[in-house]
Symmetry: C3
Subunit: 356 residues, 3 copies
């Protein structure tokens, strides 16, 4: 018998201030980029075309922020959330440096808060996870909090410590993806003539398209991110869960919804911050994802870019022409999957080349 | 509310002479090539091995013509066929330049014909779509015609204009894929000793193998091509269609049948023109594709290559040892999926190295 | 009608001493590596990170031995096992040279034994298959034996010739993957502090995780390896088989079990030899794979590496906390899929950098 296997950490294992270097560094390659397109259907031009990216001002095509996020997140799972009951939320997610194919990413976390639940069986752990490139430069930072089981219900509760998390990433903290060249963003190639100036606060966009997710698809995607959470893969074990089947990784919902959101946000490919995010209901294989967006705020951030603060709502088996969200009593509709609040970069009009 | 989303064009939006630059340029990478092999099972040596390709006379391994075709086609979907009732046919498809991993492709279309149907609700639109590489050089050109809904049945019919399409690509228009080196094409590595000279007009080949297609597979393939037609992805929405489920992109049928056709056409990997093509019946997930071929014509095209004009028939759940095609009354059998007429390049015998 | 298609060889076609160059050379790319991660969930650091690989002493990241094995194996299928009744076993599998993305691999086999079965309808064929890189250097060599149908039951039995196969690869034949740099193997990044010295003969490890395999997943993987065996792909044809459905390629079981085995063998990513292997029961889509390992032997092999001889048992729908294997009467349990005996390289402690 051996004790070499990782059974994950339990609530009482986490101490505020503790730092963890996560395993499995990853060189992101053109293979990952091709798979990300094949798994999501992403069409944003700067990720799809080296020439487009270079022509507008990137050195080379950047890797989609969400592909980076999922890879950094995946590494943290064995240390943070293997025994998680629920992934409760995200905050203060900032994309700090452009990552490109060929870069090698590793991931570290710090425990920034703990609070035992009143039932004495679980607690909430707050972590800040950072991604670094091969030069040790920070490329991504975000907080998340998860509900984790205690190993031993009799273990005394730690002193509750809660981090002070910003309600949203401040505009002054947003990093422009590159220095855009004037009149270089070809709108025929990007698929839309709408620039920063064209979006208005309060505007809602139904992204129209629907995408059904199969077991094979979410498993391939989640393994690509080297995320090992058992709930996504162990169909036999999950028969005994309250769902009776595998759960789909929430990142698959985010990426699918963002790919659908191309229709209406064609020039807004580049996520630069995530303010808050909640997976409101679970997604299962065979469900069809739809999505709509609302513009919450807007601000210029330099380099030829503006930033739109967007709310992205994803639903299952429910088209979004009526912008479904909550019941009259204020609860999320059972068909709503995701409520995501994020900043996305979009060119100012004078940096765009608007076709005839 | 926003009007920024693309709902696609309707029949009355298309004018003869109109030119459209399609969005989402794409750098084809080694990741795409690996995925194409994984999704089709393709085994043609010049696409699989850099060394084989270089040894026979290519600068580097070419990208499979069909992968290029699907990528160019996919870009045209949001502008041309989002509201298509049916993809009626292809003609005059010519592969003009070899494309390799690293090339960036964009796609443009010109409307070359319109004809309203007598029901007043739909019309047929003829387009010529061209693919260009990062140097602006044309790599692919083809015509297709689709039946498209009218937005408003009361809109007056345009003057019918029909393009004059060639029944097949003339041998003089065929472009040899490269200059072959004498006795360099290693038949042990390619998998067959049969050269151009060995195929006879009228010869039929049963390709024997069968390949079942799953929902996840055709969705991953069709997204890889950034083809957004809803019928392939929106399982919830398609429940209300006359099929009751998702339709598989016809390009998946073509690529699967061509991969199966390796067995008997091992040296004929390189499609250089498509004369005509019809998707005779739809394919659904769970169906198994079989295929057979007939040699329609043959001609030498220079550079050490001959060209075979082939008819490729794909069926579903019907092995092809009896070359199934039509009923006695001349209709296609309900099990026939595809009737494709194309030119493929194959080395002349003296450019081959025939093993013991 | 044509006779150009390959219907595979039958028992009477194989002669001892016969040599076969298999078709379809393959350049392994970063696309293949990304797909291998996405299909298996592999997390061993030296395959995942170029930087990790370089830092410990590799020139560049090596390709996972199993990806190489499946590609070399796949090429042999059309010539060796298209008419196989069963893949009976492996022996003397040695990985001789590190293979990296960009290398082009081809595959050759020699017939080293034949023995007709007493029923007169089938026989066992023994082959040694070798993989070579683009410089003609041997990278992999293994023996396997398969039961193959006779074309004609009346064909006289050949003189039985059986190869003399070693029960396991001798430690002196093991090739170290590279020259490790002292204290360079970062255990935080690799995911475990356990070195060669920490594993004991007789130690058993339950790898805990389960992975369900879908039809689309095993088909995509098996096509990636360009393995064409019909039993894996032809769902329509397999309805008439005794299984009533597609069989999953045994290599998918091996690779999935090895990815699961990361949990407890984090530093033992590099398979350097396979001593013996049996696919004890078939795997079908929807089944969930679990795995456990036993340490059979250990030896130092130079370059900073030790080698562990491991037995890997994979099961279906049966977690491995009780190390399931055989019934009291000595037969394999019906839930056991795989019994694999192999050597894996793992760093000695003084070549590791053990974190706090």
């Amino acid at each position: 018998m051996s004790n070499k296997t990782n059974s994950g950490h339990f609530f009482e294992d986490f101490k505020v201030g503790q730092s963890i270097q996560h395993a499995t560094p990853r060189t992101i390659t053109e293979g990952d980029v091709a798979l990300y397109i094949a798994l999501t259907g992403s069409r944003y031009a700067q990720f799809s075309s080296q020439k487009f990216a270079f022509d507008v001002g990137f050195e080379v095509a950047p890797v989609d922020s969400l592909l980076l996020f999922h890879i950094v997140f995946g590494k943290s799972v064995p240390d943070i959330s293997l025994n998680a009951v629920a992934n409760l939320g995200y905050a203060e997610c900032k994309f700090l440096r452009t990552v490109k194919a060929g870069d090698t990413i590793n991931s570290q976390s710090e425990i920034i808060g703990v609070k035992e639940n009143s039932n004495g069986k679980t607690g909430v752990v707050y972590v800040r996870t950072r991604g670094f490139n091969q030069f040790g430069k920070e490329v991504l930072s975000y907080c998340r909090w998860v509900m984790v089981n205690k190993r031993d219900a009799n273990h005394p509760a730690p002193r509750a410590e809660l981090p002070n998390l910003a309600p949203f990433v401040a505009p002054t903290d947003l990093v422009a993806p590159c220095e855009l060249k004037p009149e270089a963003w070809d709108c025929d190639l990007s698929g839309s003539k709408y620039s920063y100036e064209d979006y208005e606060i309060g505007e809602k966009i139904d992204h129209k398209d629907g995408m059904t997710v199969e077991e094979a698809e979410h498993q391939i995607a989640t393994r690509l991110y080297q995320n090992t959470a058992k709930v996504h893969f162990d169909g036999f074990g999950m028969k005994a869960s309250r769902f009776g089947k595998r759960l789909i990784y929430g990142g698959v919902v985010i990426s699918t919804a963002r790919a659908i959101a191309f229709n209406g946000l064609e020039n807004a490919g580049q996520i630069i911050a995530i303010n808050a995010g909640r997976h409101v209901n679970p997604l299962f294989a065979g469900d069809t994802i739809y999505a709509w967006s609302e513009v919450l705020d807007k601000v210029e951030i330099g380099g030829g870019w503006g930033a739109l603060r967007l709310r992205l709502i994803a639903t299952k088996d429910l088209p979004c022409d009526h912008f479904p969200l909550k019941t009259e009593s204020g609860d999320y509709l059972p068909d709503v999957l995701l409520d995501l609040d994020y900043w996305v970069a979009i060119p100012l009009r004078r940096f765009m080349q608007i076709g005839v």
